[in-house]
Symmetry: D2
Subunit: 231 residues, 4 copies
């Protein structure tokens, strides 16, 4: 599945698992079918990947991390082949809650390319984003660590600087801006500031109705798409 | 499922995944059904746990590690609830290839008890084993790190010292000795030296026929059981 | 130097270094000379150990961590022999800001004993403290992680439970309670609750006059000593 | 002190400390005085930095690692200010034995620049080297991990590819090639292949006379310098 912008990443981290997460993934899957011009990523704990992949068709089921290793010893590691076989089509790497050594990041990106998994790589400064851009991830998420979980979104100036800094290195990399997204309005505004995609964790997991909020956020992405097509 | 000794742990680490691992787990499951007085553990990469659990009944599907955390942020972590919901009935902790900080180990063991998962905790010295014994794991694997993967088994003296040191602290903890097990004969001899259980990784994963070797090893466990019953 | 209770640990972590830290260490040294029945530990960044050790005589210069390794490769590690040669007479291990894998902790304690350095080992739960007690550290600091830096001290009940749990395992281990010590009064009260020693970080480093607060805290230790002798 | 090529890095890691290391640092210092057009780096354990810096004048005393942090909590960390105050003029970062998360590497390089310390940053693949080059280290050491400690040097082809890949990103970065340097001849040949500097660990620490071998290697650097001047 190729990535189509604007895209949306629902990243429930370790908040949800099992049936509750499956229900949300199915909801995202319905919307992904309805809006085929928009890519929707849904992350899941490793143990949930297979089941979600089996019961959805239109979303990209995404792992929260993997190790850039070959099959072998690695007790307790996250073997790329195992998550690819389970149906993961993408993987987050270098998230602030699971940072990678640079050497590990290089090998994890290589491994993902070999297994044809998309990579969503996180940076928490513009310098870091530029270094990562040279490694040709599919998507770069550039998020000031200090904003994670605060409900404050990155401002226009930060978003434009980031876009420019990354596209200068490699114009084909998609940019994901997701800092502080907590409402459908945040989704709409952040996309309008010129990023390729956005996403959300606690804005959905802590919502009164996670399913409704997830749906409304995806509708907000669709609205941006429609308006841009209208031009 | 309660642990019954002698027991056997097939721990393919990250050597196998997907269909190949499922086939071996099914083989182990048949033997676990045939020998109901013996517990068989089969570890799997996180992403394989759900599928193996769904397609087996008599083995204890075992995770290679988990984080002692609560549902929440923890991007990329191994959420205990997610592997328990996927059907894991036990978890390895503190393996030499995935060592834990003591604080993490304490919380992971607590969490496993809460979720009613069995814990197989590794130590690589007798001092370390005694400290861990105080934390009341179900099974303690005491394996001198320098023997892992060498094909050399722990000798009688080491096994007896370990048993004594651990049982002195807590006589209810099962002891697993698996250093250097590479043939069914090693399984037989190690169990005869007075350990509660044994296990194997590369002796099976690198065998000409992993399935045959797995089967022969479990038969060797059964032979020890039969002989001990005969007395 | 043998440890004499009540003792006091001034642990400026990475707040101070160079001349500023040296001046405080000299102040502590004067007081240690004045009160020879009381042990005073002063921690320092690795690079400051040698200079402080050279310019003091009565305090125990203490490293904030070390690796339980032998001389050899270990680029960037903290070689125990190097800090012992620099004059460190004690070392903190397993602090919540520098937690150790259990295997590392076992080897670091062994190494400290070999080099005749005192060990101050941190635990952040009573279970963890008991496991560590089996490893025979000189001093056990049992501090609920959630209190570090909050200015709240552990209460009487917690202190007594901790004391009892540890002394049950090994009655020769000294107990350090330092959670939330921010004033000389906290020092006085915590020692009166029956701990062997106490200590302080930010209560001193963030004081208007760190030197005065350090002095006052050590005077509070002396007062407890005097009162206990008076009995 | 500005870096002058060809340069030499004597990196005894954790093999030496105290008096033995001081004697070798003094020997290097004599040669650095004799050959003022050549920079000599000598690494030391953190606790040895101050003493070596005090007793030498012409070498750049170099730390084996540091954390890119500000003064504050960081118990057990390597505070940049503390090693700079002790006299370290340079720091190795991201060595294969002490790899850094990319985020940590970004902040450590920034901090070194602020403290006017030179950075020698290690990469273990050409991709990694290019990413690091964007962060503007002073020296980049690009060394295939698999050659460390083997006594095999990188070949001409590897060296030229590395040089080209890095200089393409930033032509001002010096390049250090030190894989497998074990004799003065290796020093000579590696420098002749067109690298800016070289260095050695076990070729010196395990030599019959580390002092003689250190001296001979520096003489080999001088010979390359002389020959290049002669042209």
């Amino acid at each position: 599945m190729e990535i189509q912008a604007p895209f949306f990443a629902f990243n429930p981290k370790s908040y949800f698992y099992g049936e509750q997460l499956l229900a949300l993934a199915k909801k995202a899957d319905e919307l992904a079918e309805k809006y085929p011009y928009m890519t929707i990523f849904v992350t899941a704990p490793y143990a949930d990947l297979a089941n979600i992949a089996k019961q959805t068709k239109h979303i990209i089921v995404t792992a929260q991390h993997m190790d850039g290793m070959e099959p072998g010893r690695g007790m307790g590691a996250v073997l790329p082949e195992s998550i690819a076989a389970a149906g993961a089509g993408a993987v987050f790497l270098n998230h602030a809650e699971r940072p990678l050594q640079l050497t590990e990041l290089v090998s994890a990106i290589k491994k993902a390319k070999k297994l044809e998994m998309k990579t969503i790589v996180c940076a928490n400064s513009i310098e870091e984003a530029r270094s990562i851009a040279l490694l040709k991830p599919d998507i770069l998420l550039c998020e000031p660590t200090e904003l994670i979980g605060t409900g404050k979104t990155s401002d226009e100036d930060y978003i434009q600087k980031t876009n420019q800094a990354i596209k200068e290195i490699d114009s084909e990399i998609f940019i994901l801006q997701a800092a502080g997204i907590s409402t459908p309005e945040d989704v709409y505004h952040t996309l309008q500031l010129g990023t390729d995609g956005t996403g959300c964790t606690s804005g959905i997991t802590k919502a009164v109705s996670p399913e409704k909020t997830l749906g409304d956020m995806i509708e907000a992405v669709n609205q941006v798409y429609k308006e841009s097509e209208g031009k």
